[in-house]
C-alpha cells in the first residue's frame, strides 16, 4: 500500500459517485427496485439482488473498496441502532 495518498481525491470521487446515484435513484427504482448498486467513476459498474452479487459484477471493473454502494428501495427499513 502507498504510504501517502490523496484523501481529497478519493473523497471527491466518492462524492461524485454518490451524486450519480442520487441523480439516477428514481430511474433505477423503476428499473430494478430492491437491488444493490455499485457506482465508480460515475458509471454503474455492478448491480444485484444481494450485496455480494453486485460487488462480484463490479470487481473486474473497479476497486470496489472505493466505489459508492447503495441499496435502492422505495421501502427503506427504519432502524433503531
Amino acid at each position: 500500500m502507498k504510504q501517502h495518498f490523496d484523501a481529497h481525491a478519493v473523497l471527491d470521487q466518492f462524492d461524485k459517485d454518490h451524486s450519480y446515484i442520487e441523480s439516477h435513484r428514481a430511474e433505477w427504482l423503476e428499473e430494478f427496485p430492491n437491488s444493490w448498486v455499485v457506482v465508480y467513476g460515475e458509471r454503474l459498474v455492478g448491480r444485484g439482488e444481494t450485496l455480494e452479487s453486485a460487488l462480484e459484477e463490479a470487481r473486474p471493473k473497479c476497486a470496489v473498496g472505493d466505489a459508492a454502494v447503495e441499496f435502492i428501495t422505495s421501502e427503506p427499513r427504519n432502524m433503531l441502532l
Binding site: F5, A7, H8, L51, E52, P76, L81
Partner: protein, 180 residues
Amino acid sequence: MTRIDGSFREWGGGEEGYFGVQPYVRAVVELPRLGLRHPVDFLVDTGAVRTTLHPLSMTRLGISLEDYAPTQRSDMTGVGGGASYGEEEAILHFRNAEIRAVVLVGPLLREQFDFSLSSRLPSLLGMDILSRTRLSVDYLANELRVDVHTDEDILHLQDLQRRLSDAEYRHYRQMQREER
C-alpha cells in the same frame, strides 16, 4: 480547530410514511494492520460509545468474516442485543483533519444477524471520536459541522479542567462560546 462539514441524508417512506434526515460525515478509513483503506459514510451517532465499521464497510474492504482474525475483541450491547466485534487501529482521513482511533469491526458472528439486513446498517461515528470535537447540528438550516480539536487544544482543556474548579471551568468555556 479544524472543521469537517457533514451532510444530511433523507430516509423513511414506505408503509410507515415517515421521513427524516440523518447526519453523516465522510472519511477515508485506513486500517494499517490489514493494509486496507476506503471511503466510508459514517452516521454521526452520539449514542454509540465506539466508532464502528459495519458489514457493508467490511464487505467493501474485502474483510471476510471467515478469514478475519482480530488481535483484540470487544463485546458490545445495543438495542438488538449483544455482539462481538474486532478492534482495529485506524486512521480516519477527513477532508481537513486526520484522527487516529481504535475502531470496532463487525459484528463477527454472521448467524447472529440477518446479513441481508445488517448490510444496510450504516457505519457509526461514535463518542470516542465525537468527544474530540465540537458538534453543531442545525436541521432547519441543513447544516452539520464537526470541529475537531487539535491535540494541543485537548491537552490545554484537560490541563484547565485539572487546575480549575468545575464552576470556573464552565465559566471559561461559556466565555469562549460567547467570544465565538
